[in-house]
Symmetry: C2
Subunit: 124 residues, 2 copies
């Protein structure tokens, strides 16, 4: 297909600061109806990602700080990338969303398996 | 496409009893690497579903019992259903997985957007 990430990514996505609490992160996931939150440092740069799976990890293991559950090595996508490349990355790392970044590594969106599964069956 | 749910569903999926705790549910999600757990009653019948998003809700709102966070009206799929029908249901209810049930409403698998997004770009 000739579909690229910018055709399917969500924009205006919620993000969270690395100084936030686990309860803050959970609160944003609930109010915004999302499972993935890119984590930004004080300068607004992508420094990690936290998901509802990570919140479950905190509950299962009694972990108290965001820093201990977030993933620091973030797998990302670019807006001009094919959706096949994006899904291959998600499959390879067994993850269900990729923050989309621009050339300066600013977060401009999020592409997720939830968004991509809507394309299933459509041949372009 | 002519792909049906049984072509893409996960089998041997973890489930949980309705008497379990939130911490039990979170523990299974972490050890099995999943975000969705069908909830069964004492007779082994599907009575709800709990997800990592629900665990986040419990953390955000200080909810203590599984019963208060699980969803009781479960949207399901059958194994012979087309994947288009399954994705339409997920889109309509803004959910990312459907337990797959047989004629007696026993859970035989789970179809998820994470599993479906792998088909993206493949035309059949
Ligand atoms: C490995 S997945 C396993 C569960 C399930 N497959 C899912 O996607 O939620 C869960 C872990 O992946 C991490 N993760 C999710 N998206 C990520 C991304 N784009 N880059 C790096 N790690 C990510 C989360 O922080 C979490 O610790
Ligand atoms: C409405 S979604 C919103 C967040 C996000 N779209 C997702 O799928 O995780 C989250 C809620 O849907 C419920 N849910 C998930 N799968 C479901 C299913 N197959 N049937 C009924 N409810 C389901 C969960 O229990 C949870 O309360």
């Amino acid at each position: 297909s000739h579909t690229i990430v910018s055709d399917v990514m969500a924009t205006e996505i919620p993000v969270i600061s690395e100084n936030s609490s686990i309860k803050d992160a959970a609160g944003i996931m609930i109010t915004r109806g999302v499972n993935h939150l890119p984590v930004l440092d004080e300068k607004g740069m992508l420094t990690g990602i936290v998901t509802s799976w990570d919140i479950a990890k905190a509950v299962a293991l009694g972990i108290k700080s965001l820093d201990e559950i977030m993933s620091r090595t973030v797998i990302t996508a670019t807006s001009d990338e094919s959706i096949e490349t994006a899904t291959k990355k998600m499959e390879e790392f067994v993850i269900s969303a990729l923050p989309v970044v621009d050339k300066e590594n600013h977060v401009i969106g999020l592409v997720s398996s939830e968004g991509l599964s809507r394309l299933v069956g459509q041949c372009r």
